[in-house]
Symmetry: C2
Subunit: 215 residues, 2 copies
């Protein structure tokens, strides 16, 4: 029943996502959608990525949250334009929300838009936003079994960041187990082991992103 | 649009939840629904709670996951009956899923059922399962701003567990900030600071739970 009811919503979303994608292509803007659990380090990763790439690209951020503008304020404090979307209860961003956010941004003067999706490992999977690429962040404290438990989101990722690597000594997390589960689901996804706290791995990730932006 | 489409689903869910609640009351079974982000420590909390209460109550567990039976296997390894629900993509448990799980459990021989909801701080909020009480777990690595960003789930909790307290030195988490945000949203929620790793606070939480089961 649920699938039938959702079908028209997803079809409408896909149409709007295609329009967003065309608008971005027309303006030569790369849009990266970042998905993760609450607290995996999405905002910290965005801030660290901005530090690496702000000399090279003109960047803006779209922040998705159920409520509050905590994250947009953090981005703005770094001197980067941020548009806050409050979903008002919805558990994921949709293409229509991105359409409105894009209207508020000077697309002709941007190279890169980073979208922070709502903290959720399930729902964002089904809603195309018109992004150029999708990143999933998993943090060490969440556990190495998450690809098994939330396969959908890991299967569609272009790139996966394993964050909070500096917390490894405190948690029972097997990087080997995680890596092999991820590879089984998604053999082509790039994987970076990072820590937004120590900045380990961030430069490698930013170089990879820069390469696909320029490609 | 979404609200109108969802209304019949939620009404049907509420009817089934009321039937679950009546069935549990008839059998004098207390059902605790545990909600949290992926990796906050739901399964570890359930295992620690079982250790404290298994001499006193006859316990079973209902495990909700998008995919896999990793968690149910962990519970069964402790000698406790566990029913695994795979939602097959759905981001929350619904009353109809619990109805089927209850059919598989010997209710007359149980005192306590612990339900582990799908890891998600948004979607489970709207779906009554027929539970007697609802607990939300937040873990320190997720950050102290989560009540501001996911207010709905914290507002409906009967009790909140702040888990992974032993990780406090490694993360920029203010217990005071978290506590005051939570109190603003939900002044009556009980709060326990715990670590499933060190077992700190677990006995206090189990005593509180035991008191409301016996009430």
């Amino acid at each position: 029943m649920q699938i039938e009811i959702n079908k028209p919503i997803l079809e409408l979303n896909d149409r709007l996502a295609a329009a967003n994608r065309a608008l971005l292509a027309q303006n030569k803007v790369f849009m990266l959608d970042i998905m993760a659990s609450p607290g995996a380090g999405k905002t910290a990763t965005i801030l660290a990525t901005i530090e690496c790439l702000r000399e090279r690209y003109r960047i803006a951020v779209i922040e998705g949250d159920v409520a509050s503008d905590v994250d947009a304020q953090k981005i703005k404090a770094s001197g980067i334009t941020a548009v806050q979307i409050n979903t008002g209860g919805a558990c994921h961003l949709e293409a229509a929300m991105i359409e409105r956010a894009l209207e508020m941004l000077p697309l002709a003067e941007l190279d890169l838009i980073i979208v922070e999706n709502v903290g959720n490992l399930v729902c964002p999977t089904e809603f195309d936003l018109g992004q150029t690429a999708q990143a999933v962040i998993l943090s060490v404290p969440e556990g190495d079994d998450k690809p098994q438990k939330y396969p959908g989101i890991f299967a569609i990722a272009d790139v996966v960041l394993l964050n909070k690597l500096d917390a490894l000594p405190l948690f029972d997390f097997s990087v080997e187990q995680f890596t092999s589960s991820l590879e089984a689901l998604n053999p082509t996804a790039a994987l970076f082991q990072v820590s937004t706290r120590t900045k380990a791995g961030i430069a490698d990730w930013a170089t990879w992103l820069s390469n696909i932006i320029d490609a």
